[in-house]
Symmetry: C2
Subunit: 206 residues, 2 copies
């Protein structure tokens, strides 16, 4: 009845392309919505079963009877049923729920003064690198997607989400430049206060 978000990702993916296995889905997710959504196998496989039991998707081929059938041949593909498709559309029309925000980077920055500016600076640098990598990834996704899917009816929705990702990351990077200056400023102040020998605030012990 009340399906998790994972279920809808699966339905959505199958609505775009039939005959995907759990393994496929995970890879598709990483290569398309990866920058704003993630799923683990531990979540995908059980959900696949549940959706099958509920009749929202159907397995293909000999249909999963008997043992799990491991190994490369053990591949089990699924497709959407009409019911599943209807269910997806229902869900799409429902207001999205915004999940409680949790950003540990910001949390550490917020409490950062206790650790001294060098620590925050380190986190910030990591943040920048991460965002640059992410930007590269998104742009790559966009490039590949445009090459081979420009005709696809979903295409325009896809670029919308991509563009949002790009906008968000660019904003983060711009902010991070300014933030870095602030932190460097604070460090040099701390250094001056501490005298010439060390630029560390006195606190440090071994």
């Amino acid at each position: 009845m009340k399906s998790s978000q994972t279920a809808y990702v699966i339905l959505g993916l199958l609505s775009i392309e039939s005959r995907q296995s759990g393994y496929d889905m995970r890879r598709t997710i990483q290569g398309s919505v990866g920058y704003f959504w993630g799923e683990s196998y531990g979540q995908i496989y059980p959900t696949l079963r549940r959706l099958t039991a509920e009749g929202l998707i159907t397995p293909h081929g000999q249909a999963a009877k008997g043992r799990p059938a491991k190994g490369r041949g053990g591949r089990q593909e699924y497709s959407l049923t009409a019911v599943g498709h209807a269910r997806l559309r229902e869900w799409l029309a429902l207001p999205y729920r915004r999940d409680p925000p949790r950003d540990e980077f910001l949390l550490k920055l917020f409490f950062g003064r206790d650790a001294g500016p060098e620590v925050s600076e380190r986190h910030l640098r990591e943040f920048q690198e991460q965002n640059r990598r992410l930007l590269a990834t998104i742009e790559e996704i966009g490039r590949i997607g445009t090459e081979k899917n420009a005709q696809h009816p979903h295409f325009r929705y896809w670029i919308l989400t991509l563009e949002y990702g790009v906008a968000r990351i660019r904003a983060a990077l711009e902010w991070s430049e300014r933030a870095m200056e602030v932190l460097e400023q604070m460090e040099s102040e701390a250094g001056r206060r501490a005298g010439k020998k060390t630029r560390r605030p006195a606190k440090r012990r071994s």
Copy 2:
């Protein structure tokens, strides 16, 4: 030993201001880091106990012996211990972990074509309103914070996080303007294809 993030929020809050109760903390969180962090009572109170047991915080006053002591007088305040403070600093120095991203708004937009542009437009409009409200909130937090805390040693870290929030939201709003145009464009195309009588794509039933 391995403490949840909630534990560190508590330690952090107490490092800034002592003698807070669980109730206080929740309100403080909402009024300061609320736009990037949330906590529920169901998480705070158990954690408070655990942290007390581990000696990272101490209860004040008659110290929590006997019954829970409900009602307005039942207020139990806590402060950081030296160990707790050390632990906070340790955690601050550790690399932040980035939690798996999950944005249902983007997910629905990504799969949006199945529901037609009107649906996505509705979500987008909600998204805009939400972000405008959030922007107002953050700016309010910033205003109040600047008025009464400009001297506070943590102040510069706080504005950094606030500014990030503002930057992120502004980017979201700018993007949303462009996105709205795209969706409207799609709608008018769909309307044209469907003839003069209705501007809805044929799909609709009921």
